[in-house]
Symmetry: C2
Subunit: 326 residues, 2 copies
């Protein structure tokens, strides 16, 4: 089978491709080709299947048509401008996150002729906007407080309608905040959730800008890849017309994160976290969802990490070859 | 003040214009000009203010720019392809209902320069899709089962984001099913809700294609005009970032409708209703919302008809000059 991945150079995209390169199959079927697209050249880990790579603005006219011309069996659509940039650049955010996705959906429609691929779309819990109930249920409404969340919510609606029309067979998955994000600390407001685990494990100091009571919703990169694999192979009939799902996650407080770190890497690791409240970040984070009751996805077989310690262990195994530096 | 109305030749549009022509003011401010747009020439009832009329496909490139060039103070955006046509013609529905609305929003953004009109958008309870709770609350999610509902839900999301960005000051109002719709019976699946009142009052036979236990959510044309007037003058600060509201309505069963008809026009009127179940219509209607808990709109001062009898009386007063023909 032929799989197209947009945003294939991103963190989740790379890990998804690595997993398929290792497995060689998706569900029961052997992978014969992967087409990888991004704005920079996506890596192509050694695999038994062939790769095609493509580098462009995927929202530019004609790009989606090129990517779908070979009728990939499965499309994993991860490409997006991130939240902060979509907020800073109104036009770019709508151009890529909305118009780009629309162009992809329309390119599939234009093929017609019975072509109806499985399409997995990475949505976000940013479709929700405060105030929230204690736990956000599967039927809570979407009132995003960012343009990014608005764009994701629009694409979810289109995904359901195009699926209902038989144009493709879509599944939208709202990913929790990915933790532990590998790589360098970045300027994302959510960065500290990962920084306070990743940096101490590497023997580096890091700053915690919010109170330890802050609660949030997490999945490891490994769990996120598992969500995509399951969404790509799930029987669509089990979903009915409600095609967008909040993925299961682990809710943890920042204090709970630090406890897990201590348990795995000792007090010394936790001492590398300097607590310095940043009121700006604290205010942003205050508007974010804390926890979900993601019952439907769990019933459909999507599996979260068992607990926050497992999230830390996954990072140590997948990114640090099992070695803690502290 | 200058008011722009799109879809001004439609039933609700015409009644809104008539009301302003009669009142001469919107809230505290005198109306000095109304610009009326539709695909056919909208009527211009005698008024103390001036009219400009415009006939075109408002979603065509450049149209929204022309309509907003004079910077109307209030924009009432009613133009839309109706549900049945948007379902039958995928491209036309998305072109007018989504792209047209986006073009209007973008035309306002392009003016910039501090221009920030109040924008009232007529949305629909079609943003909701079965299965429903017993009464649909204000925070129930949007899973439309038609392209029309999808398009309305997308425009609601954009309205909130553009408002949050300060581009305009939007209020989206989800209208109940309008009853009694004046005019001839039409082929809309919902037509019978009005037909079974309007036709007997005019001494005409009519067919009821569903069970008398069917429950639905109604507002008179008069109440709908009241919703628009209130949405056009409401203090935006009271709304916060959640800009789209389910309008209050009257829930009534078809049996309750018939009881009201009997009470007002006698058994003879009710005898003009021939009960002939149409399984196709019955199935469509089965997927529609029954009742709402539209608490937020009521708290914000939107007022429904007091009961279904008032809806019948409003029709007799406004459309039949007080005279029943049966």
């Amino acid at each position: 089978m032929h799989i197209l991945v947009t945003g294939a150079a991103g963190m989740v995209g790379r890990k998804f491709v690595e997993r398929l390169a290792r497995d060689g199959h998706l569900g029961e079927r052997a992978v014969t080709k992967m087409t990888l697209h991004d704005v920079v050249l996506p890596p192509t880990p050694p695999a038994a299947f062939v790769y095609a790579t493509s580098v462009s603005d995927f929202a530019a006219p004609g790009e989606a048509e090129k990517l779908t011309a070979e009728r990939p069996d499965v499309i994993v659509h991860l490409a997006a401008i991130v939240s902060g940039e979509a907020e800073a650049d109104f036009e770019k955010g709508y151009h890529v996150n909305r118009d780009g996705t629309q162009a992809l959906f329309e390119a599939i429609r234009a093929i017609g002729d019975g072509y109806c691929p499985r399409l997995v779309f990475s949505s976000s819990i940013a479709v929700f906007g405060a105030p929230f109930p204690e736990a956000i249920g599967d039927d809570f409404f979407h009132t995003p407080l960012t343009s990014y969340g608005t764009q994701k919510a629009i694409c979810e609606l289109l995904l359901s309608d195009y699926t209902r029309r038989g144009i493709f067979d879509g599944v939208g998955i709202r990913l929790p905040t990915i933790c532990v994000r590998p790589g360098k600390p970045n300027k994302a407001a959510s960065g500290f959730f990962s920084n306070i685990i990743r940096e101490p494990l590497a023997g580096q100091e890091t700053v915690l800008p919010v109170d330890t009571s802050v609660r949030h919703w997490f999945a490891s990169p490994r769990a996120a890849v598992g969500f995509i694999l399951h969404a790509a192979t799930l029987d669509g009939a089990r979903l009915g017309p409600r095609r967008n799902l909040t993925m299961p996650g682990i809710d943890a407080t920042v204090g709970g994160e630090i406890d897990a770190l201590k348990k795995i890497a000792g007090e010394k690791a936790a001492k590398l976290i300097r607590h310095e409240i940043d009121p700006t970040i604290a205010k942003i984070v205050d508007g974010w969802p804390r926890t979900f009751d993601a019952r439907r996805a769990a019933e459909l077989g999507f599996t979260a990490d068992p607990d926050f310690e497992s999230i830390v262990h996954a990072h140590i195994e997948d990114e640090l070859a099992g070695k803690i530096a502290v």
